[in-house]
């Protein structure tokens, strides 16, 4: 049970700034997910929290106690690595009990704790095997088992599922969520998979280039992104961005069509270009104003279909979600804008509210 806080945390490797000032508060028992594109510094930030990477400046606090200069073990965190990092020369049971052994716990006691954890993770029959004799999913369970026997304050996961196949990934995702429900510990989970982020997180931290772009509940980020990066990163397929020109304080025009945005609190600069963000599911079957589009590509997924085409005089590419339909390439459909759900961004890619 622990809260965690980062205060203006920075990290440079030589002259390269990787983490450029991150402030963050994570509540007790929260499941927080760090997402962002490859190389944005997710792992580095997690390793700094773990104590595996030195902090260049700033402070890290666990339970209101500064731990910036403490060893990983003294922070009472446990970490699950992408490559599992199981000790190959030890059996599963020895792997899980290693931390306890270093603490000086007696052998029978260790065995008891390990067996309990193995029970939870359904790996009891594997306890006497070596890591090389396990499948990827089983190794992942052992790695998680090694973390839970320690009863840490904070669990850290660095892309734990990225080496698993799609089916196993979905299964493990659910199990980690279940585990969080049972243990109610604070967990931080790094992924670049936004589906994992959306489905598992209590709160998502979106990172880009060593900076936090936005923090919020999955639905908040989805419905109410602060900038174009977050809007584009969260959601699959991506949000459509259409370049529009302001024709009034709360009105923009797209391909000769006037679109009213009464939800805006601030006036637009008439004549300025903006980007209108509309998700694929808000482009069809609505009541709003419409344009016609010729279908170029169809991705039929069963109940839903994603159709790609070009919109307006400038032929801006869009993706539209259709439900319970069998669209064909070359067909023409009517695109309607659900403007109550649309978002607007300025030239600096910041949200206009």
């Amino acid at each position: 049970m622990a809260e965690l806080a980062l205060q203006d945390v920075r990290k440079s490797f030589g002259a390269v700034d990787v983490i450029k000032g991150v402030d963050l508060e994570i509540k007790d028992g929260e499941f927080t997910v760090f997402v962002g594109p490859s190389g944005c510094g997710k792992s580095t930030l997690l390793r700094m929290i773990a104590g595996l990477e030195e902090v260049t400046s700033g402070d890290i606090m666990i339970d209101a106690e500064v731990v910036t200069d403490e060893e990983p073990f003294d922070r009472e965190i446990a970490m699950v690595f992408q490559s599992y990092a199981l000790y190959p020369h030890m059996t599963v049971a020895e792997n899980m009990a290693f931390a306890l052994r270093l603490q000086g716990m007696s052998k029978p006691e260790r065995r008891k704790v390990v067996e309990q954890a193995a029970e939870v993770l359904k790996i009891t029959p594997l306890l006497d095997r070596r890591p090389a004799q396990l499948s990827g999913g089983q190794r992942q369970r052992v790695a998680i088992g090694r973390a839970i026997v320690r009863e840490p304050k904070v669990f850290l996961f660095d892309e734990p599922l990225s080496n698993l196949d799609a089916e196993l990934r979905v299964q493990m995702r659910i199990e980690i969520a279940r585990l969080h429900g049972e243990l109610k510990s604070t967990m931080i989970y790094v992924t670049h998979d936004q589906t994992e982020a959306m489905t598992m997180a209590d709160r998502i931290v979106v990172l880009r280039d060593g900076l936090v772009e936005q923090v919020g509940a999955p639905t908040d980020l989805y419905d109410d992104p602060d900038n174009m990066f977050v809007a584009g990163f969260i959601g699959s397929p991506k949000m459509n961005f259409l370049s529009v020109a302001a024709t009034g304080p709360r009105q923009v025009s797209l391909g000769g069509l006037s679109l009213d945005l009464p939800q805006l609190k601030n006036d637009l600069n008439v004549g300025t270009e903006y980007a209108l963000g509309v998700r694929p599911e808000h482009l069809f079957g609505g009541e709003g104003p419409g344009l016609t589009m010729q279908i170029e590509v169809v991705e039929q997924l069963g109940q839903t279909a994603y159709v790609h085409g070009r919109l307006g005089a400038e032929a801006q590419p869009v993706v539209v979600e259709l439900r319970d339909q069998r669209p064909k390439t070359g067909q023409t459909i009517e695109i309607t804008f659900d403007l109550s759900r649309a978002t607007l961004f300025d030239a600096q890619e910041q949200r206009v509210r």
Binding site: R47, A50, G51, L52, E71, P72, F73, I77, A78, M79, F81, Q82, S83, A85, L86, Y87, P88, H89, F98, A99, L102, Q103, R146, R150
Partner: protein
């Protein structure tokens, strides 16, 4: 079907004839030594190359007791064992540090170690000898142990560093998260993980130390190691070849035994060196 088979067989022959000759050239000295070790001097002079007629172990007994080979043997075993242990200990620690830890001038230190690999022993013999004398290590077994350790350490350290650098870094991270201190990471993770490389080094260094004459001759002048003792059996004008043969067999026996025990690992070890080197 039959044509390619025929050609295959011809290729096989073309390869195996030179190979057999090569093998013969390796086996013959062993045969020569064992054969002559079992003759007496007269028997040897009368028939150098023929098979021994009335074999006796007289020469072995003489070498062992009268020519002080029991002492030499003991010296060799102590010094080799001591040096190999020291080499394994230091190189695995140094390899761990160089491969895993981040400290200033790490690259430079590794570079110096690599460079010292290129320096042949002969070039540094004089300063080396002066150092040994200055440290009052002349004629001590510990002096010879330290000398071997110093001379063979660069290669051992280089091999351990290369080996440890190829291991996933996350293993060390995991051990640190699990609460292992620096030396515990080494003891519980790096040492067991390094077993294949350490075994290779153990065998190679045993060979080097056991077979060395030059360094031993310099450091251990009053006493002798086995190889120096064998070398000393060669007189300026005459050599008691049967006695020398017996000594050679005695000197080679432990290494041959070691080879038989670790045969497969040695081949694998040479391959390790080949890939990393």
């Amino acid at each position: 079907m039959s044509k390619p088979a025929k050609r295959d067989r011809r290729i096989l022959w073309a390869a195996s004839v030179p190979m057999m000759l090569l093998a013969l050239s390796c086996v013959y000295p062993i045969y020569f030594a064992i054969n002559n070790a079992l003759k007496d001097r007269k028997g040897y002079i009368l028939d150098r190359f023929g098979l021994v007629t009335d074999p006796s172990i007289e020469n072995f007994v003489t070498a062992w007791s009268r020519a002080r080979f029991d002492e030499y043997f003991f010296n060799s075993v102590t010094v080799t064992a001591g040096a190999v242990l020291a080499l394994l200990l230091v190189s695995s620690l140094a390899g761990f540090a160089l491969a895993v830890l981040r400290f200033p001038a790490r690259k430079l230190i590794f570079g110096v170690i690599l460079a010292s690999l290129m320096i042949p022993v002969q070039v540094v013999l004089v300063p080396f000898y002066q150092t040994i004398v200055a440290l009052e290590l002349l004629n001590t077994r510990i002096g010879l142990i330290l000398s071997y350790t110093a001379f063979f350490l660069p290669f051992s350290t280089y091999l351990m560093t290369a080996f440890y650098a190829a291991l996933p870094r996350e293993l060390v991270d995991a051990a640190r998260v699990d609460g292992a201190k620096f030396l515990q990471v080494w003891w519980y993770v790096m040492l067991p993980m390094g077993k294949p490389a350490l075994l290779t080094l153990g065998i190679l260094n045993t060979l080097y130390c056991w077979n060395d004459v030059l360094i031993s001759l310099l450091v251990l002048q009053d006493e002798r190691t086995l190889m120096v003792g064998i070398a000393a059996l060669r007189g300026e004008y005459t050599t008691n070849v049967p006695l020398l043969s017996a000594a050679i067999v005695l000197g080679a026996a432990p290494i041959v035994l070691l080879y038989v025990i670790f045969q497969r690992k040695i081949v694998a070890g040479i391959a390790t060196g080949a890939v990393k080197g």
